[in-house]
């Protein structure tokens, strides 16, 4: 479980992007963080992913302040897929997955390869194993990036705007695919794409000007936004 308590983040230029927010991410299912651009949702994600350090408040992972967790342990528990994916272009899909298994988890090359192939198979993208990132489509690249994160078996997986590079048809396919991954981990999906959130998430928050405007089950949140 991730708990965000009274969190505030102010950028160096004085912009307060996240303003005293609290929320709890359950250890199951898909949780959507929604909002317009500039609402503070990506800043929140970067704080949870420990790429930004909030000036006020705290974030707890299973009751422990994330700032107190060792980097290598934290990264294995909380995975991130960036908006631009950041796949490594000089490595093929399989090698992209194996790198952290070998270098972070200390697995042998053979073990890393076996685990990666298994994961690719379970995610039904095993035929991409030998392709380089430049050789796969946008939707496929999104799945590869998620697979690379899932290979480390994190408790939470943060996705930043996963649909920004996908067209409508690909987005539906992707949403269906993502729903099937709930058994692997819990997802926190940051998105401005409300239909996509509706197709995937059970619960969510809607942010506005760095604050939480609505939170609860997704159906309720969407209903309240419509009304407001």
């Amino acid at each position: 479980m991730i708990e965000v308590k009274k969190l505030s983040y102010t950028y160096a230029d004085g912009t307060k992007a996240v303003d005293d927010i609290s929320m709890t991410f359950p250890e199951q299912g898909i949780f959507a963080v929604m909002g317009q651009s500039g609402s503070g949702k990506t800043t929140l994600l970067n704080c949870i992913a420990r790429f930004l350090f909030p000036q006020e408040g705290e974030i707890l992972l299973d009751g422990q302040d994330i700032q107190a967790i060792k980097e290598i342990d934290f990264r294995q528990q909380v995975g991130v897929v960036f908006q631009h994916l950041n796949l490594f272009p000089h490595l093929n899909v399989l090698e992209n997955m194996m790198l952290a298994l070998e270098r972070v988890q200390g697995k042998t090359k053979a073990a890393a390869k076996m685990e990666s192939m298994e994961m690719l198979e379970r995610l039904s993208i095993v035929d991409l194993a030998q392709n380089y990132p430049a050789q796969v489509s946008g939707g496929q690249a999104q799945r590869v990036a998620i697979a690379r994160g899932l290979a480390l078996k994190p408790k939470f997986m943060l996705l930043d705007e996963p649909t920004s590079a996908l067209d409508a048809a690909t987005t539906s396919d992707f949403a269906r695919w993502l729903r099937e991954l709930k058994e692997f981990t819990s997802f926190i999906v940051v998105t401005h794409d409300l239909p996509f959130a509706e197709q995937t998430a059970e619960q969510g928050v809607f942010m506005e000007s760095g604050q939480v405007r609505e939170q609860g089950s997704l159906v309720e949140v969407l209903k309240n936004i419509d009304r407001g």
């Binding site: 992913a49 790429f51 980097e71 290598i72 934290f74 990264r75 294995q76 995975g79 991130v80 960036f82 631009h84 994916l85 950041n86 796949l87 490594f88 272009p89 000089h90 790198l99 952290a100 270098r103 972070v104 380089y132 990132p133 430049a134 690379r148 994160g149 480390l152």
Partner: protein, 473 residues
């Protein structure tokens, strides 16, 4: 890792083979000459050093009970080499002048000669003495006393300085100069032996006493040399040596003006092997240093800022100064032996250019790559080693290859510090055969045979990088 070990072993072996040797070992009498001043010094048709000065050197060494070692070096750096203790003495037909006497001590003269003007037999400019040469091009070898003499006494003469007699003769054959001033004996020998198409005109310009310079801190050596010279005069040895080269019909003409093809081939290949070995060692050394330097060049902020500025300044300085000056500085200024000096200088030069290329390569890798690797939990070292560096390196390969190509070509410069690389070997062949066109062309083609595949390889890597979509804009 396996390759790294092999390369290190090879480099160490190479350095051990060519590495620093004491220039003035106690049992040796090390002397210098140019090897390009027939009949005083030249390469015979077996490719060995020969000539009047060579015989005098060996005779003196024998008489002072030391082993003779003769180094062939460039005339314009020959005195500097003596002062930097690269050798004990110069037995290379050096005229005794007051200016030179300020920095070195000369032995008693071992022969007398003088400056003579030579012109083309056709005499297109109709000159019969140096005083008629105002405004005409007269050549001398760079650093010879004739240059200073002409500039002082005949300021209206246009003095052309060239690197060796062979170049001067070629220029005169092509009538690109009116004439040249050289030693009376050398010119006369050329006319007689090599059938050159030029003739002496006018009186001798002045007379010269030719002596053996040693450093001022070696008076005992000077004494020994003077004793040996006196004894050689007394027992007729000097006369014998003189007869060998200047006596009527004593020189065997077949030995001069020609060189066996096999000797030429071996000289060229050996010279090229030396060029490539120096290039290889320098590239290895330079590249190893270029990686940390290139990385430091990207740290413009943070705690490494002071080191960044030091590296920045050093790289800029090296890139902004001529390699030739760097070579001479390391050889004469720091006093390194020729091979280590060449490898160090060219290596540091390669480092400067490669560091800049590597910096650009690192900067062109998307910062998101490092972030992506961090999100997977990779350590800073692993992020660099497995994610950022492999991409930067691939991007940098084509410009790095350009550095390698220039460095291979720059090895031509090390002839100046008396290393027998390809250009120097070609020059020594030309000083005997007088075919500069042919042998400079061959030397050029040999370089091209190595640099061309490197350029093609670089093109190919560039194509494949584009295909894989590396590097962001």
């Amino acid at each position: 890792m396996h390759y790294a070990r092999i390369i290190i072993t090879l480099t160490l072996t190479f350095l051990a083979l060519v590495g620093p040797r004491p220039a003035a070992a106690e049992e040796e009498f090390v002397t210098a000459l140019t090897g390009k001043f027939p009949p005083f010094s030249y390469y015979d048709n077996q490719g060995n050093l020969a000539g009047f000065d060579v015989d005098v050197s060996r005779e003196i060494a024998q008489r002072i009970n030391l082993k003779s070692q003769i180094i062939a070096t460039e005339w314009d750096g020959i005195l500097a080499g003596l002062l930097a203790e690269k050798y004990d003495a110069i037995i290379g037909s050096m005229a005794i002048t007051p200016v030179r006497q300020q920095s070195v001590d000369f032995s008693t003269p071992y022969y007398h000669s003088g400056a003579q003007l030579f012109i083309h037999r056709d005499n297109p400019n109709k000159v019969y003495s140096i005083s008629e040469c105002d405004g005409l091009r007269i050549a001398v070898v760079l650093g010879e006393t004739y240059q200073h003499f002409l500039e002082e006494k005949f300021p209206e003469v246009e003095v052309v300085t060239l690197k060796s007699g062979a170049e001067i003769f070629a220029m005169l054959e092509q009538k690109r100069i009116t004439g040249f001033v050289t030693d009376r004996l050398v010119g006369a020998w050329q006319v007689k032996e090599a059938g050159r198409s030029f003739v002496p005109v006018g009186e001798m310009l002045y007379k010269e006493r030719i002596g053996i310079p040693v450093r001022k801190d070696r008076p005992e050596l000077l004494g020994q040399i003077n004793q040996a010279l006196a004894a050689m005069e007394d027992d007729g040895t000097m006369q014998d040596i003189h007869q060998r080269y200047f006596g009527l019909g004593k020189t065997s003409s077949s030995e001069l003006g020609t060189m066996q093809t096999s000797v030429i081939a071996i000289k060229l290949l050996k010279g090229f092997a030396v060029s490539l070995a120096i290039a290889f060692a320098a590239i290895l050394f330079g590249f190893a240093l270029a990686i940390p330097c290139g990385l430091l060049l990207t740290f413009r902020r943070g705690s490494l800022k002071p080191i960044h500025f030091l590296v920045r300044a050093f790289v800029d300085f090296i890139r902004g100064t001529p390699v030739l000056i760097q070579l001479l500085f390391v050889w004469l200024g720091l006093g390194l032996s020729p091979f280590p000096a060449a490898i160090l200088t060219l290596g540091i030069c390669a480092m400067a250019y490669m560091a800049e290329v590597i910096r650009a390569g690192l900067m062109s890798v998307d910062p998101g790559q490092d972030l992506g690797a961090r999100a997977l939990g990779l350590s800073p070292v692993d992020r660099f080693r497995f994610v950022v560096w492999p991409q930067a390196f691939r991007i940098a390969i084509p410009p790095l290859m350009n550095c390698v190509v220039s460095l291979v070509k720059d090895t031509a410069l090390v002839s100046i510090i008396s290393i027998p690389e390809l250009i120097r070997e070609a020059q020594s062949i030309i000083s005997v055969t007088f075919e500069p066109g042919l042998y400079y062309l061959i030397a050029g083609l040999m370089f091209f045979a190595v640099t061309f595949p490197l350029m093609k390889f670089s093109d190919r890597v560039e194509q494949s990088i584009k295909a894989k979509g590396f590097s962001h804009d």
